[in-house]
């Protein structure tokens, strides 16, 4: 797919997204908005658009980086153990601060995700990995340990459903004052873009990378750090969005190859366009209600990606 098409789709869908909703707002209203219309725009519609874009771009980009660093196509950002640390944080926030504001709870959960990530990196630094697969394996095991603590507490206090519902992807609760945490990820994604070449080289293996004069450890740590932080922020504010971290990078690399510098823009744009399209559809289908994005992405994504995969000629 030409990148120009993706840009066009992105712009068209973004504009559409601003004018879809229960309150009547047309592009013409932009000239001479009432006080009320302006509030709808600034409190709900614009934050929603921003968070969709950040979530779509962020999740797919860090998915690609994670797969490159671990040199394994089946590693997703949640493999770094962040998701499990963040869930534990959510649980602790619900348990200890039941009356606190949403942003405060998100901050508590974020601290847990951060601590979990640091612990994960620390374990990795103690292990000399001859095999990049170990990154993913340590992440999975670490996630399993943290996850078991969460399950233990959640079962004890009967909170499993609450934690799961929190982490279910949903944009309808995104309002001004509840999503600002997402901005943390913008500079991180920018750094990821600047370092794209280095991640590509790191993905060729430690010896090769060191030969080319790359500080391998440093680059890997930076990459994993970005992956963990961005996925924690998105998971906690928006919820989990299936497919973005795993299937989109894989699809793009089927067509574009593994050079991050050239596949990163495609991956980012495709991620954003996909989430935007699903969100708009979810808002239109049962208007004036809406279907939450977690379900839309899961259902529509399965259809589209299955089609794309099966249609492709069977040569690898």
């Amino acid at each position: 797919m030409k990148i120009a098409y993706l840009w066009i789709a992105l712009i068209v869908l973004s504009v559409t997204s601003l004018f879809v909703g229960v309150t009547d707002l047309t592009p013409l209203d932009l000239f001479g908005m009432t006080e009320y219309q302006w509030q709808v725009m600034s409190i709900s519609r614009i934050p929603r658009l921003i968070s969709i874009l950040i979530a779509g771009v962020g999740m797919s980009v860090i998915g690609l980086i994670m797969q490159q660093l671990a040199r394994n196509k089946f590693v997703s950002p949640s493999t770094a153990g962040t998701t499990d640390s963040a869930s534990l944080g959510v649980l602790v926030a619900i348990l200890l601060f039941p009356g606190a504001s949403p942003l405060f709870k998100v901050a508590v959960a974020f601290v847990f995700a951060l601590a979990g990530t640091m612990l994960f990196m620390r374990i990795l630094s103690k292990i000399q990995f001859r095999d990049p697969i170990l990154i993913a394996l340590v992440g999975l095991m670490f996630g399993g340990i943290v996850g078991s603590a969460t399950t233990f507490l959640a079962l004890k206090y009967n909170l499993l459903q609450s934690v799961n519902s929190w982490l279910f992807g949903d944009f309808s609760s995104i309002l001004k004052g509840r999503y600002e945490m997402l901005y943390v990820s913008i500079p991180l994604i920018a750094i990821a873009y600047l370092y794209a070449n280095r991640f590509t080289i790191a993905g060729m293996g430690e010896e090769f990378a060191v030969n080319l004069g790359l500080k391998y450890r440093q680059v890997v740590n930076l990459g994993l750090g970005i992956v963990a932080l961005v996925s924690a922020v998105i998971l906690l504010t928006v919820g989990s969005l299936p497919f973005l971290g795993l299937i989109i990078p894989n699809l793009v690399s089927l067509y574009k190859g593994d050079n991050l510098k050239s596949s990163l823009p495609h991956t980012a744009l495709l991620g954003a366009v996909f989430v935007l399209a699903c969100d708009i559809l979810g808002r239109v289908l049962i208007y004036p209600y809406e279907i939450s994005i977690g379900l839309m992405v899961g259902v529509i994504g399965s259809g589209i990606f299955l089609y794309l995969l099966l249609r492709r000629k069977s040569h690898v």
Binding site: I127, Q128, L140, N158, G301, L306, L309
Partner: protein, 315 residues
């Protein structure tokens, strides 16, 4: 220490744990206690074998040690089935169905799904395993996003019924189902037995295997069918336990000094029996059923695995 010794010691630990499990706190009511516990042990042996064989075979086929057969999406289908029944008909419908019908339905759906998936993908000439996995992930995500949406909308009391299905459990083993499962697993293992001996060669990678005269495509397909059947039976019997497979297979690779499947597979089976019986003992005696088996297994197993890795790095 040679691998033979390690396997012997593991076997001895497994036997000792089983003995402890059978007689601990029996307080004289042997007629009541022993048959019930024997059923649990049988279920553990069965699940341990099914999960270990399928995980190791799957990892060799895909040449990827972080994967488990979960990737084909069977666990998600199992959970979706139960969530959907509770969501649409209510938890009483699930209870009214009876265990045998539930088991039959679960095995049937999982087997049908796996076969359909394979059929769809292997029909195309030269279909690559990579596509199968991607398609499996997509289907699994599809199932699990529907079930988590339903779970979010469920009444909390009804959710508790679904919650029980989210974790593996060895309680209330039904004799009929146990016998059927044993027969099914034995049939699968016997029918596909001659394919398993190719695993050592398949581990060398597709090119080498083909060069050495292995009918690669045929063997891969047959093994994948075997893996799916084993996972379907064990999941329907006790619930999702695939993380255990990942854990024990990786501990086994590290513990044993060879990658030969004739050693690794028995090692993995013994390890999973040891961890299942040990975990169940902890759940029943220490936590008095206040938590689930997977919590104990993931916690202790995960820490043990990281410890093994750290120890390996020091030497």
């Amino acid at each position: 220490m040679s691998d033979r010794w390690k396997l012997t010691i593991l076997g001895a630990i497994a036997l000792a744990l089983i003995a402890v499990f059978m007689i601990i706190d029996g307080s004289g009511n042997w007629d009541y206690v022993l048959p019930r516990r024997a059923k649990k042990i049988l279920a553990i042996l069965l699940t341990g074998a099914a999960i270990s064989v399928s995980t190791v075979a799957f990892q060799t086929l895909t040449n990827n040690k972080i994967l488990t057969p979960t990737l084909i999406g069977l666990d998600s289908l199992y959970l979706l089935l139960h969530t959907a029944i509770v969501f649409v008909f209510g938890s009483t419908a699930l209870a009214a169905m009876g265990k045998n019908a539930q088991f039959g339905l679960a095995v049937g759906m999982m087997a049908a799904f796996a076969l359909l998936l394979y059929k769809l993908l292997f029909k195309r000439e030269g279909a690559h395993l990579y596509y199968l996995l991607l398609v499996g992930i997509i289907c699994g995500t599809f199932f699990s996003s529907i079930s988590s949406f339903m779970q979010m909308l469920l009444d909390p009391n009804e959710f508790l019924v679904v919650q029980d299905k989210m974790f593996a459990s060895f309680n209330n083993m039904n004799t009929d189902i146990l016998i059927i499962s044993i027969v099914l697993v034995a049939l699968v293992l016997a029918y596909f037995y001659r394919d398993f001996k190719y695993l050592d060669v398949l581990a060398l990678g597709k090119e080498h295997a083909v060069n050495l005269g292995v009918p690669y495509d045929r063997i891969t397909k047959r093994l994948l069918v075997a893996v799916a059947m084993l996972v379907a039976v064990s999941t329907a019997l006790v619930g999702p336990v695939t993380f255990l497979g990942l854990l024990v297979s990786n501990v086994a690779y590290r513990m044993l000094s060879t990658f030969r499947h004739a050693v690794v597979i028995p090692g993995t089976i013994l390890l999973s029996i040891v961890s299942l019986v040990g975990g169940l003992l902890i759940v029943e005696r220490v936590f008095t059923f206040s938590t689930t088996l997977s919590v104990i297994l993931n916690f202790i197993g995960g820490i043990y695995f990281l410890y093994l890795l750290l120890k390996e790095s020091k030497t």
